[in-house]
Every structure is written in structure tokens, then in C-alpha cells.
């Protein structure tokens, strides 16, 4: 199964892939067992001349336990899966770690817009810088994002990061990721969003810190980059 998944490039990818394999193993065994018994019975109990079927209505609790006991075991496995999965979900979606970088991601029909906090490091101030379609992030750093949409619902999906989150107009949803490998990955939109859904994509470039800060500088307006934040706010 790992072969089928795209390369993993985020700090939580291993947890998610491991969980996927763990679940597949458990349900795989159940699946094979159930199919084997089902098909086995269908073959083994084919009609034979002169032989009557057994009268087994399964009315007593004892008889029903043939069905109910395996179901209790299924329930047990279910709860184990939930137990293993819950902390992973919490780690990915609830407990946002202390972040090194912050970016606002806005989905629009049909492109991704990224807002960098600008020299003051704060989103929502007027030195924010918008860049379209291509986002650079430093490797090994926690990036926090604020995700929203302008028009319809979109969904931020970076397969290699195992990152997906719907972008909802009117809401700002916070999330995070930490890339563990350098490289260039596609950002796609996983929620149907109209005519251009099929061509909506962006690029995420994961690079060393130096390359990243060069990129950030190149995006800052000439003047702004050299003036301290306090002065600019007055102007």
C-alpha cells in the first residue's frame, strides 16, 4: 500500500500512513475471513441428492451467539481503531504547535492566494503581501495557516503532506503542517468548485531556510523591506 501512496513529506504523514496500514491490516484480515467463510459455505453446502438441509432457525441466544460473538469482536476492533486514531486526529487537526511561520491561504475560483505577514510578522496588517499560486515554505519548520475562501467552498489538498482541509467562505480555519523534505509539490482543490475545478492548482516549494528567506525578501515591496515596521504603520 505504501507503494500506492505518494511520497510522504510532512511530520504527521508517517502517523497517518501508519494508521492507514494498521486499519487496512485489521479490516483486511476480517475481509478475507468473511469472504472465505461466505464462499466456502456456498461451495461446501451445495445440494447433494438425498440430503436435507439442517433446520437451524437461530432462535436461542446460544445459537445467535455464533453471530453475536464475532460482532462483539468486531466492536472490540472498532474501538481499538478509534482509540489509536483519536490521538492522531488530535495531533493533526486540534493541537496546533507553536508555529515558526504563518500564512493566510485564500481559495478563489480557481486559484490559490497566499498572504504573507510582511515585515511585521503579523497577518491582517497593511504590510501583508499577497502572492498568487506559488507558496514557499521552509523545511523543518511549523507553518500555521489560516484558510478561507472568497466565493464557494474549496479544499486545500497537498497529497505529499497528507494535508487536506476545506476552505469555507465566511470562516477562517486554522491548521498547520511541518514539511520534512525539500521539493516542489502540487496544491490541488479537492472540492468541486465550478467550471475551473479541474484546472485549479498551485505549487508549494519546500526549501532550505536560506532559500526561503530569499524568496520572502523577493516578494516584499522594495521600500517596505527596508523601513522598520513601526514607522510604516504611521504612514
Amino acid at each position: 500500500m505504501e507503494n500506492w501512496l505518494p511520497e510522504a513529506a510532512s511530520s504527521y504523514a508517517a502517523d497517518l500512513d501508519g494508521l492507514l496500514i494498521f486499519i487496512s491490516a485489521i479490516v483486511g484480515v476480517w475481509f478475507i475471513l468473511a469472504e472465505a467463510v461466505l464462499i466456502g459455505f456456498a461451495v461446501a453446502f451445495r445440494r447433494k441428492p438425498g440430503q436435507k438441509a439442517a433446520y437451524l432457525p437461530g432462535r436461542s441466544l446460544r445459537a445467535m451467539s455464533w453471530v453475536l460473538v464475532p460482532c462483539v469482536v468486531v466492536l472490540g476492533f472498532d474501538l481499538v481503531i478509534d482509540g489509536v486514531a483519536a490521538p492522531i486526529w488530535d495531533k493533526v487537526k486540534i493541537e496546533i504547535p507553536e508555529s515558526d511561520e504563518i500564512v493566510r491561504i485564500t481559495a478563489v475560483q480557481w486559484a490559490w492566494k497566499f498572504t504573507l505577514p510582511g515585515p511585521d510578522g503579523e497577518l491582517g496588517s497593511d504590510d501583508d503581501v499577497d502572492v498568487m499560486s506559488e507558496l514557499h515554505v521552509p523545511v523543518g519548520k511549523v507553518v500555521e495557516f489560516e484558510l478561507t475562501a472568497n466565493d464557494v467552498i474549496h479544499s486545500l489538498f497537498v497529497p505529499q503532506l497528507r494535508l487536506k482541509q476545506d476552505a469555507i467562505p465566511g470562516r477562517v480555519i486554522k491548521g498547520w503542517f511541518e514539511a520534512t523534505k525539500t521539493g516542489t509539490f502540487e496544491i490541488v482543490c479537492a472540492e468541486i468548485c465550478g467550471l475551473g475545478h479541474t484546472i485549479m492548482k498551485g505549487k508549494m516549494v519546500i526549501e532550505s531556510e536560506e532559500a526561503y528567506s530569499d524568496w520572502v525578501k523577493s516578494k516584499m515591496p522594495e521600500a517596505a523591506a527596508s523601513i522598520p515596521a513601526e514607522e510604516r504603520n504611521e504612514g
Binding site: F31, L56, D78, I153, I192
Partner: protein, 558 residues
């Protein structure tokens, strides 16, 4: 023919068109449903061709632009769920079987029944008409989430979505009438002696499905009305700019949408539950347990809806709770599945076509069921949500009841419906071909989903994750499989048409089955039963010890 019928000959219109006979209405639903399955199937062909050979002209259709692709996906899903699964499994078989199985002359409200079909028919016309309006049919997915579906500015045409909403609302009104009829009939019109726990499981499943539908559909209708108002009166229920919230629609939709899966699944399982005992000559294993599992499934189906929205912006702290309820619902479903399997144990199994399709339902469904665990677990859903893994999963859960369950029912009850026997050889060929191509089509989609292939895109090759020879090969295999599935229906059509014209005349009870529909002639006359039957026992008394016959009809006096 009774003298009364001769004395009052019915006009053609009253007999075949505006009939109040539940059997005629069933056939009307059935033929409309089969026609729509053809439409839905051809749309699937168009999608599959485009996905395997993006941009190339599709034989019989031509090239397809992204907007039309979105419309095709939307209409395929909509048609398959609302205009195929519901009319065939619920309306057609429920209508045909409920009165016959409980020993009633007709539905409780025959005129309401007729009205239900004709409203459904109108809804079908409206839906099909929406293909031809300026801007084309609805293109926001069968889930029609606003804001995309909320205004023409976002989704293209003005008329497509509005007609879509109108058609869906009309259809729901039709099925509500049908559901009320089903419930009333099953509760009130049972033959003397038939207790609730003597009803065949098919009747239970139809009853369960109708009740689930009745309770879940209200919020969706409310949601649809608000959406229509947003579109035509600019109300803004789902528009954040005016204080609305798009997520509200998702809650309303899935509060209905998830129970809907069981509305489809239960009647399919009902057909399997009738066929398995007859062709293994065994009582249904754990009949009451099955009934309780149905009820528990119904109840649980109302508290799982948010698993469709794990990453849709709901509070992430809710996810684990919905994961748990979702995974819990696998328990009553497991009870049903294991009870089916236990029914085979020590049986005397004959693999006639209905039995093959019934077993096929289970074999295929198991894969749909277990992959539901991947998606019901919130953490793994992060990656898999809205990918082809989901597409493969829900086809593996829906095709068992909608295709295999329907065909099990078709081959089993065809003699009763039409008074002719079907050809076994063609039936078996139909089964094996459909069964094999099913996997050829959808296994590759699981793998594409793992690879990160997201849904509802018309050109996968635009994305890196889906480029390369391996992904292309999978696309082509899936497309070949889909064409295979469609061609595999030729033996079914040929068999049905030839058998209708000159199949062997069917006896009243060709399968030596116990339930009441087999005590009347094939096809049953108007009014069904000459005298009201008296019921003495449950429906599955097969191979009762110390009896010569291995069946024991429900109405047979000892």
C-alpha cells in the same frame, strides 16, 4: 377471470396508465427506473472515457468540456441514487411485494399510490428536461453544496440547479406518499394470523427504509427550499456575506444523505434475505436478531451524518465522536452480514441465478463495508476524503443493493411479476460478467485514490499525482471495466425480452417458497388473493424435521 372483472372492463388508460393496482404501479416504477439506469449508465460511460482519454472525442458523445463533465458527474450520481435505486428497490419492489407478502388485496391507499407514481414521473421529466436548458444541467455534484449551487454566477446556468432542486423536491414528495402507504399497509393490512414477527424480512426492510426516509427527509426539504429561495429570491441563508452559513446546508443534506444510504441498502438486503433461505432450503438464521439489527441500524443512521464533514470545517473536536458512532454502525451491519452467512451453513444450496446474485451482493458489499472503516476514521479520512478511494468505496456499497440486490430480486420475482420463467444460462452469464467487470472497474479506483486522485475532475492528467504510465493504465482498466459492465447487461436485456415473449409459463410457486406471494397465480390477478389467506407460521420454515416437503408455506394448515 372473475365475472366482476368481465362485467366492468377497464379502459386501457385505467388498466395500464392511471392504474391504482399496486402491481401495475410497481411495473411503472420499475420501467422508469430501468430507463433511468440506462441514462445513468451512459453518463458513467462518458465520464470513464473522458478520464481515460482526456480531451479525445468520445464515441457517441463527442468531446466534453469541463462544465459538461461537472454536469455529467452530478446527473450520474443524482440519477443513480434518486431515480434508479429509490424507484426500483423501494418503490417498485415495495409496491409489488408488500401487499402480496402480507396477504393484502392492494395498498392501503391505492389512489395515493397512483398519485405518487405520477408525481415521480413528472419529476423525472423535469430532471431530464434540465439537460436541455440554457447553461446545461446542474453541475455542483449530487450533493449540490452552496454557495456553488446557490447562484448562477458561481455554477454557470440559471436553470440547471433550480430544475434539479424542483425535481428532487417533487420526487421526495412522491416517495413520502409511497412511504406513508408502505407503513400503513404493513401495519394495518396484514392477513389474519400474520403477526409482526411473521412478516418476511423484505417487508421489514421496506418498512425500515420507509420510516428512515420519513424521518430524515424533512431537514433536506427545508434545506432545499432555503436553497431555492437563495437562488430565486436572494435570501442568503447560505451566504456568509449576509450572515448565512454554507455549512448549514451540509448538515441538512447529510442528516438526510447518510440515512438515505440505508434506505437503499435495506431493500437490497431484503431481497437477499428472501432468496438465501429459499435456495439453501434453510430457515433464516436469527430472524428476530435481523429485525432488531435493522431497527438499530435505522436509529444509528441518524447520528453519523457529520462523518461526511470531518474536514469540512466542523469543529474538529466533534470528529472523534462521529467516528465512534460511524464505526458503531458497522456492528448491526456485521450482524446482518454474519446472519446471512450463517443461513448458508449446512444448507442444501442451489446456485440458481437469483442465488448467485444474492451471494454476489454479499461478496461485493464486504469490500464496501470494510473500506468504510478507513473513511469513518477521521484521521485516515483526512487523506482519503474526496479522492477516488471514496468513489470506489461508495460504488462498492451501493452497487451491491442497486445492481446485485435488484438482479437477485428480478430473477427471483420475475416469474411472479410476469408469469414467465427466465433463462438460467443467460442469467448465469449475466451474473458472472457483471461480477467480474465490477471489480475490473472499481479496484483500480481504490488504487488511484491512494495515489491522490481527487474526485470530480475532468482531466486527471493535468495533475502530477495522476501522470505517468501506471496511473494511465489504471484509468484505462477502469474504463474497460465500465464498458464491460454495460455490455454485460446485454444478456439481461435479451433474456428478459425473450422470456417475456416466449418464456416457459411460470407456475404459482416455481421455487417452492413459503411466503404468501407464491400462493397466488403468476402473475397475480387484480385483487391478488381469491380468499383472504390465514397465516399460521413465520416465513422461513424450510427443512422442518419430520416433514416430507422441505418447505412449509405460511398459510398451510398442518
Amino acid at each position: 377471470m372473475s365475472t366482476a372483472a368481465i362485467a366492468h372492463p377497464k379502459s386501457f388508460w385505467r388498466e395500464y396508465v392511471f392504474s391504482t393496482d399496486h402491481k401495475t404501479i410497481a411495473k411503472q416504477y420499475l420501467s422508469t427506473g430501468i430507463f433511468m439506469a440506462l441514462v445513468g449508465g451512459l453518463l458513467a460511460y462518458v465520464m470513464r472515457m473522458q478520464l481515460a482519454y482526456p480531451g479525445q472525442a468520445i464515441p457517441g458523445y463527442g468531446t466534453i468540456d469541463p462544465q459538461s463533465y461537472n454536469a455529467v458527474v452530478t446527473m450520474h450520481g443524482t440519477i443513480m441514487i434518486f431515480w434508479v435505486a429509490m424507484p426500483i428497490l423501494l418503490a417498485a419492489f415495495g409496491n409489488f411485494l408488500i401487499p402480496l407478502m402480507i396477504g393484502a388485496a392492494d395498498m392501503a391507499f391505492p389512489r395515493l399510490n397512483m398519485l405518487s407514481y405520477w408525481i415521480f414521473f413528472l419529476s423525472t421529466v423535469v430532471l431530464l428536461a434540465s439537460f436541455f436548458v440554457p447553461g446545461g444541467a446542474a453541475a455542483g455534484g449530487w450533493t449540490s453544496y452552496p454557495p456553488l449551487s446557490g447562484s448562477a454566477a458561481y455554477s454557470g446556468g440559471q436553470w440547471g440547479v433550480t430544475l434539479w432542486l424542483l425535481a428532487v423536491a417533487m420526487e421526495f414528495a412522491a416517495f413520502l406518499m409511497g412511504g406513508i402507504n408502505f407503513i400503513t399497509t404493513a401495519i394495518n393490512n396484514r392477513a389474519p394470523g400474520m403477526k409482526l414477527f411473521d412478516m418476511p424480512l423484505m417487508v421489514w426492510m421496506q418498512l425500515g427504509a420507509s420510516i428512515i426516509f420519513l424521518f430524515s427527509v424533512g431537514p433536506l426539504i427545508a434545506g432545499a427550499v432555503m436553497l431555492i429561495l437563495d437562488r430565486v429570491a436572494a435570501t442568503g441563508f447560505y451566504n456568509p456575506a449576509t450572515g448565512g452559513d454554507p455549512i448549514l446546508f451540509q448538515h441538512l443534506f447529510w442528516f438526510f444523505g447518510h440515512p438515505e444510504v440505508y434506505v437503499i441498502l435495506l431493500p437490497g438486503f431484503g431481497a437477499v434475505a428472501e432468496v438465501l433461505p429459499v435456495f439453501s432450503r434453510k430457515p433464516f438464521f436469527g430472524y428476530r436478531m435481523m429485525v432488531y439489527a435493522t431497527i438499530i441500524t435505522g436509529v444509528l443512521s441518524f447520528i453519523v451524518w457529520a462523518h461526511h464533514q470531518f474536514i469540512a470545517g466542523i469543529d474538529p473536536r466533534l470528529a472523534t465522536a462521529f467516528s465512534i458512532t460511524t464505526i458503531l454502525i458497522s456492528v448491526p451491519i456485521a450482524v446482518m452480514t454474519f446472519a446471512f452467512i450463517a443461513t448458508l451453513y449446512k444448507g442444501s444450496i442451489e446456485l440458481k441465478t437469483p442465488m448467485l446474485f444474492a451471494l454476489g451482493t454479499l461478496v461485493v458489499f464486504l469490500l464496501g463495508g470494510v473500506t468504510g472503516i478507513h473513511l469513518g476514521t477521521a484521521a485516515t479520512d483526512i487523506y482519503l476524503h474526496d479522492t477516488y478511494f471514496v468513489v470506489a468505496h461508495f460504488h462498492y456499497t451501493l452497487i451491491p443493493p442497486v445492481f446485485f440486490g435488484f438482479f437477485a430480486a428480478w430473477y427471483y420475482w420475475f416469474p411472479k411479476m410476469f408469469g414467465r420463467m427466465l433463462n438460467e444460462g443467460l442469467g448465469k452469464a449475466h451474473f458472472w460478467l457483471t461480477f467480474i467487470f465490477m471489480h475490473v472497474t472499481f479496484i483500480p479506483m481504490f488504487l488511484l485514490g491512494f495515489g491522490g486522485h481527487h474526485r470530480r475532475i475532468s482531466n486527471p492528467q493535468f495533475f502530477e499525482a495522476m501522470q505517468g504510465p501506471e496511473a494511465e493504465r489504471l484509468q484505462i482498466i477502469a474504463t474497460a471495466g465500465a464498458i464491460g459492465i454495460l455490455l454485460s447487461q446485454i444478456p439481461f436485456v435479451v433474456n428478459s425480452v425473450l422470456s417475456l415473449l416466449r418464456g416457459a409459463k411460470a407456475p404459482a410457486n416455481p421455487w417452492q417458497a413459503n411466503t404468501l406471494e407464491w400462493t397466488v397465480p403468476s402473475p397475480p390477478p387484480h385483487g391478488n388473493f381469491e380468499t383472504v389467506p390465514q397465516v399460521y407460521r413465520g416465513p422461513y420454515e424450510y427443512s422442518v424435521p419430520d416433514r416430507v416437503d422441505d418447505w412449509f408455506p405460511q398459510d398451510a394448515k398442518v
